[in-house]
C-alpha cells in the first residue's frame, strides 16, 4: 500500500516537471511560459519530496521535507511576480492572440501625466 503511494507520488511529480519543461518549449509567449514553469515545477517538487518523506518515514527527514515545501511555496510566487513585472516594464510583448491587456491603459495614462508635468 505504502509502496503504491510512493510510486504514484514520485511519478506524478516527475510528470509535472516534464510537462513544465515541454511547456517552456511549446507555449507561445513569455508570460504563459513563466506561469506554467513556476507552478508545475513547484507542485512536482512538492510531490517528489512527499514521496521521499513517506519512503524514509523518519522524523528528521519528514521535518526537512515539510520545511522545503513550505519555503518553496512562499518564495516561488514572489520570484514569478518579480520576473513578470520586470518583463512587462522592459517591454516584452504579449502574444498576438491575447484577449485584453488592461495594464497597458494604466501605463499610457501615467506616461501622459508625466508628459504634462514635464511641460509645466
Amino acid at each position: 500500500m505504502i509502496d503504491i503511494l510512493i510510486m504514484v507520488l514520485s511519478t506524478l511529480g516527475a510528470i509535472f516537471i516534464l510537462i513544465a519543461s515541454i511547456g517552456v518549449f511549446r507555449l507561445p509567449d513569455f508570460y504563459t511560459r513563466l506561469s506554467v514553469t513556476i507552478k508545475a515545477a513547484t507542485l512536482g517538487i512538492g510531490c517528489i519530496l512527499g514521496a521521499a518523506a513517506i519512503h524514509f518515514s523518519e522524523f528528521s527527514i519528514t521535518t526537512k521535507a515539510i520545511a522545503i515545501v513550505f519555503f518553496l511555496f512562499i518564495t516561488s510566487p514572489v520570484a514569478a511576480f518579480l520576473i513578470a513585472r520586470t518583463a512587462y516594464h522592459t517591454g516584452i510583448k504579449l502574444w498576438d492572440k491575447t484577449v485584453i491587456d488592461e495594464l497597458k491603459d494604466k501605463y499610457k495614462e501615467e506616461a501622459e501625466k508625466n508628459k504634462d508635468s514635464d511641460k509645466k
Partner: protein, 160 residues
Amino acid sequence: MLKYFLLNILLIFVWVALTGQLNYPNFVFGAVAGFFILWLLTKNSNKSEKEYFYRVPKIILFILYFLYDMLHANFQVAIDVITPNYHTTPGMIKYDIDAKTDFEITMLTNIIALTPGTMVVEIAEDKTHIYIHTMYLKDKEKFISRMKERTEKKLLEILR
C-alpha cells in the same frame, strides 16, 4: 483566539511528553485531543471566546480547497501543453481587491500565483487593485466573480 492556540500547543507537548513517542501520528493525535478538550471546556462561554473553534476547521477546509484547485488547474494546463493545438486565450485583467493590509495582499497574490494559469503582474500603488495575467479568459466578469467567491472571500474570512 491566540490564547487557545497556545493552550492547544501546550496540550500537544503535554501529550507527547506523557506518551513519550516522538513521531508525527502522535503529534497529530495530541493536537486533535487538545482541540477536543478545549472545545469541551469553552462550551458554555460566550461567542467571542469560541472563535478559535470556528476558525480551525475553516483553515483546514481552505487548504483542501486550495490543493484541489491547484491540482485541477495543473491538469488543465498539462492537457493544453501536451495536445497539439493551443486552447489558451491569455489576457491581462484589472482586479479590485478587498484585502487591505500588506499581509493580506501578500497571501492573496501568493495563492493566485500558485494556481497555474494565473499570475499577478502588477500591484497598484494605492493597493486598491492588482493586475492578473491569466491563460484561460473566456468571460471577464465570470473570471472576476469566480476569483472573488472561491479565493478572496474565503482567504479573508480566515485572516480577519
